[in-house]
């Protein structure tokens, strides 16, 4: 199967800053790829180069078999781009907004209106876009990117600034888009989002891709300890230290946590002693992968 996107050793310099520093990857048809990284990691610049908004200093980019730079009219109708929630014409209602964008792609108003229903904004059709909530505006923005039925969809931090409920609703929508067979590329700085939505995740920092793979493989490859916690007092701390000498034991007064690389043995020992009160087991997450890769705390949004 031909790759939908091919990126080969792309570099982009802004003055002294290496915004993108030798990035290579491929995205196959129908895949959901996440580019994960903190602000300033270079993920937006990478996306802009693929979309055709910027020219790479070095390297090669192919999108649907064509070069996106300079502005490629063959490519434009086949890709859908969601920028930010505020990228709307001023003082139009949700319906006028999507109809305007759809008409630029030669799409009839009726089809545009249907798209409004797909993203669950049918009842907000007459609301001015300025009055939509953050989540509604994001959904409208995505609807505007999808109205012309693109093969390839780019989403730049679609859930940033949304409350947990709105994020979950949007995740359902994004999964549906991908399930229809569209290739989706999304940037995010939320680890959980990447883990839940994406087939593969590229972890980026300082302009480089540090790791690329399925979320499960990335986490498994990490070889991070599993955290087994029980209620404090279920087993005395000293005894736990004695029993699990090669694990890391700590007690914060609420729960006693054993960080171990042999969780099965720890669990059976605890079960034998009937010390499973308040048990919880937490495996490694992408967050741990990121920490391990960069050797530092996750840099949050300023």
């Amino acid at each position: 199967m031909p790759s939908t996107i091919v990126v080969k050793d792309v570099r982009k310099l802004y003055g002294e800053t290496r915004a993108v520093d030798g990035v290579s990857f491929e995205v196959s048809e129908g895949e959901f790829l996440g580019i994960l990284g903190p602000n300033g990691a270079g993920k937006t610049t990478t996306l802009e180069i693929i979309e055709g908004l910027r020219q790479a200093d070095e390297g090669e980019v192919r999108v649907l078999g064509e070069s996106p730079w300079p502005r490629n009219p063959n490519l434009l109708p086949r890709i859908g781009v969601q920028l930010q929630a505020s990228s709307f014409f001023e003082r139009l209602t949700a319906r006028e907004q999507i109809r305007t964008w759809a008409s630029l792609y030669g799409i009839a108003p009726k089809k545009a209106d249907e798209m409004l229903d797909v993203v669950g904004l049918g009842d907000k059709a007459n609301t001015p876009t300025e009055k939509l909530s953050g989540g509604q505006a994001q959904r409208l923005s995505i609807a505007c990117a999808l109205a012309h039925g693109p093969d390839l969809v780019f989403l730049d931090e679609p859930t940033s600034g949304l409350d947990p409920q709105a994020r979950r609703n949007l995740w359902d929508l994004l999964r549906d888009i991908n399930a229809e067979g569209r290739t989706v590329v999304l940037t995010t700085h939320y680890m959980d989002e990447a883990e839940i939505l994406c087939d593969r995740v590229a972890i980026m920092d300082l302009g480089k891709i540090l790791e690329l793979g399925t979320p499960a493989a990335l986490v498994r490859g990490l070889d991070a300890p599993t955290h087994v916690s029980v209620e404090s007092g279920a087993i005395p701390e000293a005894e736990a230290r004695r029993l699990f000498s090669d694990a890391d034991v700590s007690d914060d007064g609420v729960s006693l946590t054993i960080a171990t690389r042999a969780p099965a043995a720890v669990l059976s020992t605890l079960a034998e002693r009937n010390a499973l009160r308040g048990l919880s087991v937490r495996g490694a997450t992408l967050e741990d992968v990121f920490l391990n890769l960069t050797g530092r705390e996750y840099r949050d949004e300023q």
Binding site: E51, G52, R71, P73, L83, F89, E90, R91, S103, L104
Partner: protein
Amino acid sequence: MSNSLNSLSRAMALGFVRDKTALFFTILFPLMFLVLFGGIFKDQTAPRSEVVQIGQVSLLDRIPPAERSQLDQVLQLEKTDDRAAALEKVRKGDADAAVEEVGQTIVLHYAAADQVKSGTVRGLFDSLVQYGNLAAAGVTKPAYSLETQQVEDESLKTIQYVTPGLLGWAIATGAMFGAALTLVTWRQKKVLRRLRLAPVSTATIAGARVGVSIAIALVQMAIFIGVALIPYFGLRLSAYWWMAIPLVGAGTLAFLAIGLLAGSFAKTAEAASAIANLIVLPMAFLSGAFFPLQGAPGWLQTISKALPLRHLVDGMQAVMVRGEGPASVLPQIGILLAFAVVVSVIAVSLFRWDDA
């Protein structure tokens, strides 16, 4: 293609119509000036001089009734015997002058505070004295006589002057702000970026803006002329007034180009407004949009000739109210179009799709 043009134009037009601030500043605000100027200076005639006569003044008392009524049109006489009170009135500015007769001499007391008024009164009494002398010498038919007529009044009543002037200012404001604010807010909100990723040409985007701005300018023109034509204001359009339509079109293009240039420099909508205001207000004053420039010094007239608004206002006055022929404004249209082309070329070279 035409579909894109239509929907983009519609989006821009709706955005404008729903923007109360933009509507106010492009239509209502200039219209307020038209109503004010047109109303205040509607019946502008020379005011009568108010003069206090102290005691008997034979020169005035002997004027026959027929000529008396003529004199009343320019002179309002009040008689008193209290000399001190009369002088006090002049000093306070309640009367323009006081007049008394001392022997054979007519003494006129005036305050120099308002030189125009005191000059008028002096001139008036000068001629009254001469007239009295001639009459005393038995001359009933003088060899020369002077009849004065104000020329400006005949050619351009206030409403005739301010309608094209204020309309020019309104059009300049509308087109400049339209272009500058669209460019800056679309760049800021990343609408331009999004448009760059849509299959729509820059010509279509620019075409939509030009079309909407020209439509707005023609609406401004219709409203202005409509209001000024109300009998209360009494605008009288001359035969080839419709030549103002192509003038307005060319003017809109020129001011769109300036707005585009302002929008290329500004980063925020506020900055764009400020820059546009800094350009349009001084230009309106220097172009004679608000008052005539006849009295202005030569160097100012020269600067004024370099401003597009001056040519728009001159052209509109020529065909709308001075009754000049259609071909008389072709140079103005040419200058405005040339201006539009030159400034557009500069603006396009400075154009940026986004802030980064």
